[in-house]
């Protein structure tokens, strides 16, 4: 197994798709639908990387990221959003210590490749 991934996205079809895509890449993934759940998962389990949607019901992705950084300084967290490359969102994500940023508007193959590259960089150099 390459990585153990925590997927945080409120839309089941998106979670499922990521699950299937990662499986193909020889990764194991666990999915949850909200930030609160994600923080709970991180308390009880160890992950190699978190894939975190920015627009979430309740706690926003950015808040979740901030909370994760309180406890997990070096855990790779990659932000994902349907808003595409929004410079403000990218700047904020970087400020809160994300390890990468992916727009859902990219072609799927590119999303996976970028994701893997970000995780590799994060493992080597830490957060952005």
């Amino acid at each position: 197994m390459l990585y153990k991934i925590l997927i945080v996205d409120d839309e089941p079809p998106v979670r499922d798709l990521f699950g299937d895509l990662f499986k193909r890449e020889d990764c194991h993934s666990v999915a949850c639908a909200s930030g609160e759940e994600a923080l709970e998962y991180l308390k009880n389990d160890v992950f190699d990387v978190v894939l975190l949607d920015i627009k979430l019901p309740g706690m926003s992705g950015l808040e979740v990221l901030k909370n994760i950084r309180d406890t997990h300084k070096n855990l790779p967290v990659i932000m994902i959003t349907g808003f595409g490359f929004d410079e403000d969102l990218i700047a904020k994500s970087k400020q809160f210590g994300c390890s990468g940023y992916i727009g859902k508007n990219m072609p799927v193959a590119q999303i996976i490749a970028t994701f893997k590259q970000f995780v590799k960089n994060a493992k080597e150099k830490g957060p952005l």
Binding site: F18, R24, D86, E87, V108
Partner: protein
């Protein structure tokens, strides 16, 4: 003549408000009256037997006036007739007074000249001043009226013929007074159109004395001008209706502004809507294309594979469109750095060929300003602008052509970049919408490219303009302020 009359005459001359001087054949003063003393500020003893020019022009350096006066005097003597002349003389308090002189040769009983003459001087300084100030008021009123350009004031008689055409009428309507006076009002007003019916307006004026409405008038070039029109009754001194007075205020600029504000509000609303919409589309779209990606790995019949490829390419099309919409709606603040626009263009040129372009022979000719001052700009955003315009230029020349890129220093204020193609051009009626979102002249365009360019340039406090002629080509002119 009795003694009584002589005395009365002498009193009359002495007390009149006109300066009276009697000169001998040499121009020496034989006698003068009280007014003369007052005017020149000398006592009679100092005036009598002096030369008249010396007395009147004492201390003035105005040789011209003095000589002219002398000439008029000679003239009067030679031709034996009275002559009038106006000149300034220096009065007691040192101020100049304007005097109107009458010079009269004196005849003897046999009607022969005696070589003597009389001078009557009337001080007209105050009269002249009043005249001048009235004339000044007249002049400034005229100036005020002719300076008013936003209002046209014109009058028609009861037959509907124009009898007065003043204020800004000539400027606003393009007609000269001479050409339009006595022409019928239908020359500038729609008489029986459904919307701006003048007959209806005049009916209202007859009923209520006055009518105000937004309407349109037509200028000499048959162009329509939106105006705020006030029509009043024109009454003679007995109160009889003799015509109508029109005052039209030009609303063109105001309408333009209103339209711009309306467009800006529309765009802002559209931007918000599309950002939200794009996000909602991106999620399902991602799932669809992801699932297609997964299916590609399965063992499938050729037919299914073909269908999948089609679904994939169509999904990709939507994805790209949504991408454009997001880019358009996003008010991203430019990340400003000092850059040379020439460099930006050099960076863009190699990128053109990564885009789907018609396989035609296109030459690029660059004329760059050598010492271009730097501008403050976002490199990526500006690259996108130039790339977009260059791609448009390529696409407008399917059978080949020339693209000229000219950069220059515009008045030391702006870096000016012109991109000129020899392509299909854009018809005039499409030009005004060319920067509007979702407006495209291409069958496969999203209509967002140029509106994104427009937004980016505007965020840089610059300007972008397009001139185009069908089948001749288009010229984009971009100006970006120097640091």
């Amino acid at each position: 003549m009795g003694i009584d009359i002589k005395e009365k005459l002498s009193n009359l001359i002495e007390n009149t408000a006109v300066a009276v001087l009697y000169l001998d054949c040499n121009g020496n003063i034989l006698f003068c009256n009280k007014k003369t003393e007052a005017l020149v500020g000398l006592n009679r003893i100092d005036i009598i037997s002096k030369n008249w020019l010396e007395v009147l022009f004492k201390g003035t350096s105005n040789i011209m006036t003095k000589e002219m006066f002398k000439a008029v005097m000679e003239d009067s003597k030679n031709y034996k007739r009275a002559k009038d002349f106006q000149c300034h003389i220096l009065s007691t308090n040192g101020l100049e007074r304007l005097i109107s002189w009458s010079i009269t040769p004196i005849f003897n009983k046999n009607n022969q000249t005696t070589e003597e003459s009389a001078l009557f001087g009337h001080d007209i300084t105050e009269i002249k001043e009043r005249e001048t100030s009235v004339k000044n008021i007249d002049d400034s009123l005229k100036n005020i009226f002719s300076s008013i350009k936003e209002y046209a004031l014109y009058v028609i008689n009861l037959d509907g013929n124009i009898t007065y055409f003043g204020m800004g009428s000539e400027t606003m309507l393009g007609w000269s007074k001479r050409d339009i006076i006595f022409k019928h009002i239908s020359t500038i007003h729609n008489i029986d159109g459904n919307v701006f019916n003048l007959s209806f307006i005049l009916e209202q004026v007859r009923l209520f004395g006055k009518y105000e409405t937004e309407t349109e008038i037509i200028n000499k070039n048959k162009e329509v001008i939106p105006v705020m029109l006030t029509v009043n009754q024109f009454l003679d001194s007995t109160g009889k209706l003799i015509g109508y007075i029109f005052i039209a205020k030009d609303m063109t600029e105001r309408k333009k502004l209103e339209y711009q504000i309306f467009q800006a509000e529309k765009l802002a609303a559209l931007g918000q809507l599309s950002a939200g919409m794009a996000h909602e589309i991106n999620n399902p779209l991602f799932v669809i294309s992801g699932r297609i990606e997964m299916l590609k790995a399965e063992k499938l019949s050729q037919k299914v594979k073909d269908n999948l490829a089609l679904i994939n390419s169509q999904t990709d099309r939507i994805r790209k469109l949504v991408d454009r919409i997001l880019k358009f709606s996003r008010k991203s603040t430019p990340v400003l750095e000092a850059i040379d626009v020439n460099d930006v263009i050099e960076l863009v040129l190699p990128l053109i060929h990564y885009n789907k372009l018609p396989a035609s022979k296109i030459e690029i000719e660059k004329t760059f300003e050598k010492n271009m001052p730097l501008i403050k700009g976002d490199l990526h955003q500006l690259q996108e602008v130039f790339l977009n315009i260059l791609i448009n230029a390529y696409q407008s020349m399917p059978s080949g052509g020339l693209i000229k890129i000219i950069t220059s220093n515009f008045k030391n204020l702006y870096a000016q970049i012109q991109i000129i193609d020899t392509g299909k051009g854009i018809p005039a009626h499409n030009l005004k919408d060319i920067f509007m979102p979702f407006f495209s002249t291409k069958s496969d365009g999203t209509g967002l490219g140029l509106s994104i360019c427009h937004n980016i340039i505007e965020n840089h406090n610059g300007s972008i303009e397009l001139e185009s002629q069908v089948n001749k080509g288009s010229t984009f002119t971009i100006k970006l302020p120097f640091i």
